[in-house]
Amino acid sequence: MNVFRRSFRKYGFVFALYLQEGFALRSTFLMERFRSLIVLLSFYYFWTALLAHRASFAGYDRTQIITYTLGINLLRGLVFATRTDQIPAEINHGRVSAYLLRPMNFTLYTFVRDLSEKSINLVSVVIEITGLIWIFHMPIRWPHEALTWLWFALSVGGAVALFFYLTFMVGCWGFWTAEAWGPRFLLELFLEFTAGAFFPIDVLAPALQTVLKMFPSPYLVFFPLNVFLERLTPQQLARGFAMQLTWIVVAAVAAQTVWRRGLVVYSAQGG
């Protein structure tokens, strides 16, 4: 119990520290929120224009697609906000040595660091979405079942963990190359599109959807939002959670394996 309390205090301090840093870097934060709003607005107008003279599109009615678009903004702020992009630089510049000397787990430290940014984004996203709903009178499709909120929270939690492990693994490529930025850029773009973070992936051709659903990315945005919109049968819900959990385990094992292998080859000068 004492160990748990000490750990909680230790990582709680890390959380508070990076929360303060997040509030200090106001211009960077505002830029990220501005970019998300621009994406949201462009797709909101796009879908509104598309559904101006029709009741539904690819199985989504206007309320569902607008809710999906707003949900994208929420999940971009929660799932895709991460500080794992700092890992390659920390490795290449030898700063990770300091973390190795401290009594803390680097993976958990990085995850807590991420959580601080996601917490700030969550508050901001709620304010943004509320403001947009009010200004544009956006229709929202709220869940009819109370249990849906629980499933949604679980699926979002799973998406957060999955994205963290995927990007943590890519960050560890810094052990082998100083050019980890390029592969990360490619991965994040690929994940964004195939996650349904611009549009629902079921507007795509069925064959393409089948291919995309073999990747972990649909479980980052598309799956949680379909849970929220109650578009899944109980069997599909169970299968979705099983797949998400499977991908989390695979990504976690891969990330830890890459991290351990990286430590074997890691060296740093100075300090």
């Binding site: 390029g182 592969p183 507007v203």
Partner: protein, 248 residues
């Protein structure tokens, strides 16, 4: 020199190139998928909507290709290198703007041009010299406005040493031109035409090609571009007159 810098990081360069092509490809696939469910978006067919999307890519990529150096001006000022630019016998704006050329954009713009050619040929009745001339003229006009915006951002950096996020505001606003400006409500369209002329830069060329742009709008577009360039160059001169070195 720029090519050498990119060639020295082959993995990153290849991944960045693939990333840009992935982004282009996925949005194009999205457009194709949309038109499997509908015949038109705000009255535009698939080829016409693709024309808007490809024009956005063309103007955006060419602006990044030619004016990439602006992105690094804050670093030049912070490290004092800008002071040396001022004493060199070369136009400072030219030196700053063309300091870096992203050769990946050269490779990215080629498929865009190829797709543009295909879409233009498929649009019935529009593949004529006058339409093509208008399209190219207004696309160049859009590039001039982009140039003016980059100059203004650079001037702001020289004057205040603060530009980190300004250029990205412009880049993000450009993405609003990905779709035809007709999808936006009237107030938003006016904002995108007269305040931040994204619609002028991106929507006007394809509309002119399709014969849907009034002559008056063509004149307005040219006037906006000329005014933008003149004002931005004056702002650039103003900023440099008030520049004080940070360090060198």
């Amino acid at each position: 020199m720029s090519f050498g810098v990119q060639a020295a990081s082959p993995l990153s360069s290849i991944c960045y190139l693939l990333g840009k092509l992935v982004r282009l490809g996925f949005f194009f696939i999205f457009l194709i998928a949309i038109f499997h469910h509908t015949n038109a978006i705000v009255g535009y067919t698939f080829e016409e909507a693709a024309l808007f999307f490809l024009t956005f890519n063309l103007v955006d990529i060419l602006a990044q290709l030619f004016f990439r150096g602006i992105y690094g001006i804050r670093g030049l000022i912070r490290e004092g290198e800008y002071d040396y630019y001022l004493i060199q016998p070369a136009n400072v704006l030219y030196r700053v703007a063309f300091n870096t050329v992203d050769f990946l954009d050269v490779l990215t713009v080629l498929p865009v041009i190829a797709l543009l050619w295909i879409m233009m040929r498929r649009i019935g009745g529009a593949w004529t010299f006058p339409h093509l001339f208008l399209y190219l003229a207004l696309a160049f006009n859009g590039l001039l406005i982009a140039f003016a915006i980059h100059i203004a951002v650079a001037a702001l950096a020289v004057w205040t040493q603060e530009m980190e996020n300004t250029i990205w505001i412009y880049r993000d606003l450009m993405t609003l031109g990905r779709f035809p400006s007709d999808i936006y409500a009237a107030p938003m369209r006016r904002l995108l035409t007269f305040v931040v002329p994204i619609a002028v830069m991106i929507s006007f060329p394809p509309k002119a090609y399709l014969g849907r742009l009034p002559a008056r709008s063509c004149v307005e577009a040219i006037a906006i571009a000329v005014a933008s360039v003149v004002l931005s160059l004056q702002f650039w001169s103003f900023a440099n007159r008030r520049y004080s070195s940070v360090s060198s």
